[in-house]
Chain length 598, copies 2
């Protein structure tokens, strides 16, 4: 077991009710049963084609052949084709571009299952999906017709090519160049690194959505344009011609070892053509569409991998006998299942709180995405603002705390957890990249404190805090939930007051204002996940009160309430500790004498 | 650079002054210069023979040949022999058994260097050293003469063989059996797993210090005896005979891949002889000598690996240019070194605070070990009590927070950190085992709360808190240190009051009393490391005030004070958060309905 469909159903049906989406014109063609059938089909697909290869794709890894090719796992082709056939590349796209117009909530519920089953392989086709979405949003009709259908069929791999060796996270410093050839065609020259899915054996062509600078463009991010750069370019006669896109290597990594990470060289023989997407110099805002979705996707992947690790360790804890409770002094009594040890329960509850809390936040984001694409006016704007502020949070909390959760999964298995015989060590290794992909934790935190909390005069944050208060108000009158509702309100207020403190520095010393952005992120994340847990607990409490359990066991709902309490007692107090750091008057991370660090 | 000799010198000379040890009769044959020369010789040895193989020993790993043999790295033989020759196996042993009678502080300073350079290879000869120490402490004259000299020469590998497949951490459930053959000879039958160094190509023989149960022994840990079980047993004629010790496999692991982890089968052909050490049924207390030293050793190893990761990321941060400070709006300005980014400084300071703080605590323990072996009466007793309470703490803090520090090292390098091209990912993988070796974090925490804080009516804890107050009193009048001294006192009081709260459960519900032992461990650890940092800062402040810097740059000492402040502002507030968890009246980890976890 690598994830729990009951939890997913609870999220989709009760906590973040998809029913409200299905009333909207965009999704009117779907009902709940159809949606859930899609989710179940994803589970069947993952069980059959993905989960069985999780370990082997890691063990075999991928290897660069020294001359432009990368040997990938033979199963990969089946995985990508099956995903395409199942609607897991084109599912969220509109009918008019050949999509299935599913809510992202459903599309990403399927992807959650794939991520939990085999996160590396999911990356390939989810990248293609994101790249195709970008082309459909901003590309010309001809570009869409040329590239998107092949991508939807899983025949052509999509990628995003941003990072350059010298620039890293700093897109301002991108130097890949583009020289006009007429129309949307440009001659491209440059190098990109860390390009996931950039070369392998399972697809016929590679469509690199690439940021580059048109000759004479203004400096900085305002001079960046977006190009489609295929490995083989379609010629007027319908044939494909090698487009001078050379894979110069594959980075070997500590995790996601079955997922290629390439170094690409464009135009080394002066024959690489890129097709400008949309207008010149607007590449960054375009790319941010894909990037924002990718950030939610990475957060969700981290949560999904943490979920898989949780279930692996839970199963082990239910089967493994070892030791006795402290109260049992008789060594002749048989050993107990380790799940009875309070410390093991603590490790399992911590994992459950992190993994299920993160997945709930991801679903909140998916739902906001759907709402902000299917509503209008003020309502649309508010959904979008909430999504904007939650995006860096779901990305960061899930990846940072997901790693911690996977460490606890390893720990639950003890020495066995460290061996290659069990999957938890792979989850732990895979997870580490999630806090780096699509903008590191540092970058996400700058985005949160430097952009999102101040945008539109703080409206996004105000909306978020109001949502929290709303949840607290719903929960407060419920049986046993009052103190948690009060605690959430108090922590929401504390976020506001810490921000007030930090903002004093913003006008005169922006470096100092942002210096502890990551600690602020940590504080806010704890509070946001507490909000998700109170939401889940209030839903569960309502179902329990109504006695409306259907076939779901009572323990399922009681477990949500229990885990909420656990989160509030074991995790949430650390939000206040972060606040203590943030409101301290000393400024310790603006050192100019770096020898103090030596 | 993988560690910093200046920091080590500061610890040995100023913070935990070795001068007080060198006055004791046991160490009267040594002066500071000789001690420091030993440390420098360790550095030269590590530079030449260990550090260059850190990556390769991981890449090549170790492989089981299917018939009892394990292929290890060809350099291993040189490493072990050189370590032996340098005095790094016998160094801490007494003259009378062929040792060099160095303080453990110096012996472990050398080992710190080896651990930072190549932690896997250090394991081999440090195990031999510990095993030999156990034989010299409790073995017969004949046993000592038979085994110890070969071990000191690095020709025979020592191991500790405790864990059995069905028992894991629960030594009560050990089933390996021993049948008397006369004298100290017993016929052994059983299996042990996770035996580090249990079989490889660099030694001629293997000396397994093994826990087993003599037929008819009382149940539980009171019926466990300690045996020497060599792979080849010395015959009366001086020859060696295969002793029916079969290596049935090597566990493949996510880290420490160059360090063998074997599965051993004793007596499958009914011809395995073990030699009883000391008295029957006293195996566990004997083994605890080695185990306690090994726990300090694992803590110190974790700290050392975290130190190596810190230096790898610090060097990178000083060389890598990327992005601009938030206050720099001009994209035409050249990118800045990443060490100038506050978030990178935060990551580096966190690592420095954890790694140097842990090494300081390890040196505190090493010094207490020396004092408790070289003093007498009440004084000896107090040193021993302090060591007893600090042992689980240094083991746990260094391994848990060391992993977090190494994650920050990876993060500092961004995507590069996740690739096999840089060492930080190896540090991260290697470190994960440290919270499992020699008793998991859960076991250490039970030891702290269940035994160490209550032993001798709480005297160990009282001594520890008194030491903290003493440090606070020293620091309080110093320039700028008052608020930190007060904060440490306050946190020491909070430990006492949390314990008072927990102890209410001890008489009637011991399971509940111990249920959050790990959270208590976390709280206490933060306070203990704060104490180490205040000690270091007070030392540094005193040296700065006196102007007695010698050739050490001023920034070195200022950096200690700065890092202390950082620890108090960024880390220590989490001690209070742990206290909030611990004093909450709800009991959430004593679930009997495990379906709530599903």
């Amino acid at each position: 077991m690598y994830t729990n469909l009951d939890h997913l159903k609870f999220l989709l049906r009760d906590v973040h009710p998809i029913s409200s989406l299905l009333k909207l014109p965009r999704f009117a063609h779907l009902d709940w049963e159809q949606c859930w059938m899609m989710v179940e089909s994803a589970k069947a697909l993952a069980d059959r084609h993905m989960a069985p290869y999780f370990k082997e794709m890691d063990t075999l890894g991928v290897t660069y052949d020294g001359k432009g090719g990368v040997k990938s796992h033979p199963q990969l082709k089946t995985i990508i084709r099956q995903a395409a056939e199942g609607g897991w590349i084109n599912g969220a796209a509109s009918f008019e571009v050949g999509g299935m117009q599913m809510p992202l909530m459903i599309f990403n519920s399927g992807h959650h299952i794939f991520q939990a089953a085999n996160n590396g392989c999911q990356g390939y086709f989810s990248l293609t999906s994101g790249a195709a979405a970008l082309i459909t949003s901003f590309g010309s009709k001809e570009q869409i017709e040329t590239f998107v259908p092949k991508m939807f069929d899983g025949l052509w791999q999509g990628t995003m090519a941003l990072t350059e060796p010298q620039a890293g996270s700093s897109l301002t410093d991108i130097t890949t160049s583009a020289k006009p050839l007429g129309g949307d065609r440009y001659k491209i020259k440059g190098q990109k690194i860390f390009i996931s899915g950039g070369q392998h054996e399972a697809c016929d062509n590679f469509v690199h959505l690439t940021l580059a600078r048109i000759e004479g463009a203004p400096p900085g991010t305002k001079g960046i344009s977006l190009f489609i750069i295929p490995k083989f370019r379609p010629e007027p006669d319908g044939s494909l011609k090698y487009n001078d896109v050379f894979c110069a290597g594959d980075f070997q990594k500590m995790g996601q070892r079955g997922y290629v990470t390439t170094h690409l060289v464009f135009g080394d023989n002066d024959d690489c053509v890129g097709y400008l997407v949309g207008e010149a110099h607007k590449g960054l805002p375009y790319m941010f569409q894909m990037m924002n979705e990718a950030r939610i996707g990475v957060g969700q992947t981290a949560a999904s991998v943490a979920m898989a690790a949780y279930y692996a360790s839970l199963e082990y804890a239910k089967e493994r006998s070892q030791g006795r409770l402290a109260s049992e002094k008789d060594p002749l009594k048989p050993p107990t299942l380790i799940i009875r040890h309070p410390d093991v329960q603590r490790m399992l509850l911590t994992q459950k709180a992190i993994a299920e809390g993160s997945i709930s936040l991801a679903m909140e984001c998916n739902r906001l995405y759907d709402l902000s694409h299917a509503t209008e006016g003020e309502e649309q704007r508010n959904h979008w603002l909430l999504l904007e502020i939650l995006t860096p949070i779901v990305k960061t909390y899930s990846s940072e705390q997901g790693s911690r959760a996977a460490a606890l999964a390893v720990q639950t298995l003890g020495g066995y957890g460290f061996t290659m015989d069990f999957p938890v060590q792979q989850h732990y290794r895979d997870l580490k990249i999630m806090s780096i992909y699509e903008g590191t934790t540092g970058i996400q935190s700058l985005d949160l404190l430097g952009r999102k909390v101040t945008m539109e005069k703080g409206k996004a944050l105000a909306l978020l805090l109001a949502e929290m208060k709303k949840t607290a108000d719903t929960a407060r009158p419920m049986n046993g939930l009052k103190s948690y509702a009060d605690q959430l309100s108090e922590e929401a207020d504390r976020v506001q007051s810490v921000l007030g403190h930090l903002l004093k520095y913003a006008p005169t010393d922006v470096d100092r204002y942002l210096s502890d952005a990551t600690v602020f992120m940590e504080q806010v994340s704890y509070v946001v996940i507490a909000w998700q847990w109170l939401k889940m607990a209030a839903c569960a409490q309502e179902i329990l009160s109504k006695g409306d359990l259907g076939t779901t066991p009572r323990a399922f709902y009681e477990g949500k309430i229990h885990t909420m309490k656990f989160f509030f007692r074991y995790e949430l107090p650390h939000a206040e500790a972060c606040a203590a750091t943030l409101t301290d008057p000393e400024y310790l991370t603006g050192l100019s004498n770096h020898d103090l660090l030596g």
